[in-house]
Homo-oligomer: 481 residues x 2
């Protein structure tokens, strides 16, 4: 599997495509637009699941499972929703050998089916809030697929909550946005901008959509998670009502929010380099790989090395996800390349000299060559490996943040704006009109990624970067995935 891949600096897109397959993260399936997530990629997804699931549960959410199939008529109940999703639907027309009376949609998202069930389950204010999440597959027909980033079927979690008031729904949507941002920054080492989506970019059927946006290695933006305050739109469409304390029937306020396997694409694109993946230690399925080095078993060299390797593995296993690559028939150099390609944060080399000196050589994936390499006494190995993993985690975040800052601009006029979005993100005042957003996209290929939640108040004299009308707020514009 190891071999040359395209250079990240020369052809980012090709580098990405080749890397995903060469690192055995995922592969195309025989059905157009669908993917197979291979064990190494799925192990990364399991780490993401674990981190998010724990955060959801700590904030009172519980998992459930809703059906894959949704009657077509349900999708039609919320007008914007059906407009947004109908071009992307996969439709089951036959089941059990017969044509169905009503075609079934394979869920593109589950607001409709969950809305229907919430209307049955929720009766009184005592039943609120309902805080449910599900981990599942969804299908949105995709004509230009890219592994992890855009596939017809993908995996995600979708949270769906119901509340008594607007304020509670709004608080929930924002709380989840905070969880997503904290997770992206702390676990994936990816700095993100928390923001509100513009009217044209929001989720079909939402009152307000929020997202976290990250800058990829090619300086394009990727939406890494979204959280929607759905207002009463779905509650009215699906009749989700409750009796309040005064025995009056009220519509609920609902939210929905999701992170998908697309998140894996961000991890690849933010941290990787010409040699392959660089996985942030907290998400890496394998945090440290031990590579034994020996020539043969004259003088018991091989068995001495393997014995020391086993000892070192046992030493680290308690606190680190560590594996040994003791495959026969591959040279240590070949193994080094392979585990670099696969982005394992720490490599531990152990040869006869190290056995003799009771040491091991640690090599950091994020620092090239000698700079990241040092010999460490075996007695201090565990502590040093733990410390290095923390340092790599911090260092990856810092590097990604510096990169984003270096490529984020506050243009003074539209000419500067055009140059800014060629280079990365443009943070610019904007009139708030969809028409202006569209013109910007046509003229520069940049879209309105979000209106950052944290921003300085605008001067009353501030003008829209494109049309010169009074500006409403600052937005981040960028070319995006």
């Amino acid at each position: 599997m190891v071999g040359e891949i395209a250079r990240r600096s020369e052809d980012f897109s090709e580098w990405y495509n080749e890397l995903v397959r060469r690192a055995e993260l995922a592969d195309y399936a025989p059905v157009r637009g669908c993917m197979v997530i291979r064990p190494y990629g799925y192990a990364l997804w399991e780490q993401i699941q674990r981190g998010l699931d724990q955060r959801f549960k700590e904030t009172g959410h519980r998992n459930a499972y809703f059906p894959l199939f949704i009657p077509y008529s349900f999708i039609e109940k919320e007008a914007e929703h059906v407009r947004g999703f109908s071009p992307q639907l996969a439709v089951v027309t036959h089941g059990g050998g017969e044509e169905l009376e009503e075609p079934l949609v394979v869920r593109p998202t589950s607001e409709a089916i969950i809305g229907h069930l919430y209307s049955k389950w929720i009766k009184s204010y005592r039943d609120l809030p309902v805080l449910i999440n599900q981990w599942c597959n969804v299908v949105r027909w995709e004509m230009r697929p890219r592994l992890f980033l855009r596939t017809t079927e993908f995996l995600w979690q979708e949270g769906h909550t119901a509340h008594a008031t607007f304020e509670e729904a709004e608080e929930e949507a924002r709380k989840i946005l905070d969880i997503y941002a904290e997770f992206a920054e702390e676990e994936a080492a990816i700095p993100v901008i928390k923001g509100r989506k513009s009217e044209s970019e929001k989720f079909p059927g939402a009152l307000v959509s929020y997202s976290i946006e990250g800058m990829m290695g090619d300086r394009r933006a990727l939406q890494m998670g979204t959280s929607h305050n759905l207002g009463q739109n779905f509650a009215r469409a699906f009749n989700i009502q409750y009796l309040d304390r005064n025995n009056q029937l009220q519509y609920c306020w609902t939210t929905s929010w999701g992170v998908s396997t697309r998140f894996i694409g961000a991890v690849i694109m933010v941290h990787g380099d010409d040699q392959g993946l660089i996985l942030p230690p907290r998400l890496a399925p394998i945090q440290a790989i031990i590579v034994p080095i020996y020539k043969g078993d004259e003088d018991g060299e091989k068995s001495q090395v393997l014995e020391a390797v086993a000892k070192v593995k046992a030493l680290l296993s308690g606190s680190i996800r560590v594996e040994v690559d003791d495959r026969e028939g591959y040279t240590p150099g070949w193994k080094f390349n392979e585990w670099e390609l696969r982005g394992v944060p720490l490599r531990i080399e152990l040869g006869p000299k190290d056995v003799a000196q009771e040491q091991a050589v640690l090599a950091r994936r994020d620092l090239p060559g000698k700079e990241g390499k040092r010999a460490v006494p075996q007695a201090a190995l565990r502590e040093e490996a733990e410390r290095l993993l923390e340092e790599i985690q911090r260092s990856l975040y810092k590097r990604a943040l510096e990169f984003r800052e270096a490529h984020t601009h506050e243009p003074k006029d539209y000419e500067e704006f055009k140059a800014a979005v060629e280079d990365g993100f443009a943070l610019a005042p904007w009139c708030g009109e969809a028409e202006c957003e569209r013109a910007i996209q046509e003229e520069t290929k940049a879209t309105n990624r979000c209106i950052p939640l944290e921003q300085e108040p605008l001067s009353p004299k501030a003008r829209c970067i494109r049309c010169g009308r009074p500006a409403k707020e600052r937005a981040v514009f960028a070319r995006a995935y």
Copy 2:
């Protein structure tokens, strides 16, 4: 949600149907045959997932994710496979607003799509064995649905492995069967019979199928997990080949194995009683529920009780999955009934008298009334609760085993056989012919559940219980789900 449900002893089937919905484990979905797994039911599934997933990983398996959609032509490649599954398929004919050139099947099981991918991934003996599992949803059109037991969509894990030799595939299939049996007995407290399926009952396309079979509370059998040695059937159909050490091209030997949400049905049917569920402590999402008892807050009664409850919860949280039911507006008696219905193994009652005496009252779900109730000093509570949970676990297993033994018979002739399958399981010598199996089913409604792996050698004179021809082996016959 609490209220009368049908009596288990009077109408087992109705008891089951009502209990699943009243305990909020699952509900029917608007699409015929589909179900929603509600948070309490899903939490039980998460416990099952955790237990199995850990065992799979300890034995070298890794998770992956394969596509939901399978080209129809793939399913047709293995002749028995398509014959077995075609009446149950859901078919997608439209995607992205257009009719598809080739219809797509929503996976009923994934041998076909995985076979296709293994043929791409496996090149050499060095790539073997491939040991992959996936957790996913599958769809098999169901005309007579029952929650958890038979639904059009269900969740499961499906393992798919590829090996160099028949012996390795056989060892894998048997190893997984052992894992399933150990899990069922140790975690779900359900005694099972490990056996081989007869030719007519085996998986479409398998060389040999194994299963674990449990006896439900109505003395019918439930297949709780299956493991198949697929021989080279799928390897030939999908061209899964490898170069052996002598550089010769060989077909792989493959296996597949699965446990589904049906397993939840077994937990309900084996242990439950007239009051509702009884969950085995190791699988119970909530192992102990604390119910505070107070009249009002005169003399600070309520706050004293709630303070003691918080202390007790903190005391237990480290080692036990414990929750507090401090909802307002429900009496303690109502709560007792609700948590009995939901099968929580241990109830902890705490009122003013208990606060004064620094004790709590423990009530076992598996022992009725006073027999299962005792006051325990708070200082000894943690140890006693842990001990009781272990005792309940063992006691549930013992009760289920005694029940199965009491209703398992070794009939001497066909008349006794007929009486035996009216009462439960019949272990009987059998000629091994499909024709005889069919006749038994028509005459008694009992099917051949499995040929137990552990059985005494038959006397050479032994005769088939029905036709009197020489018997090949003993099989378990029973009415089944």
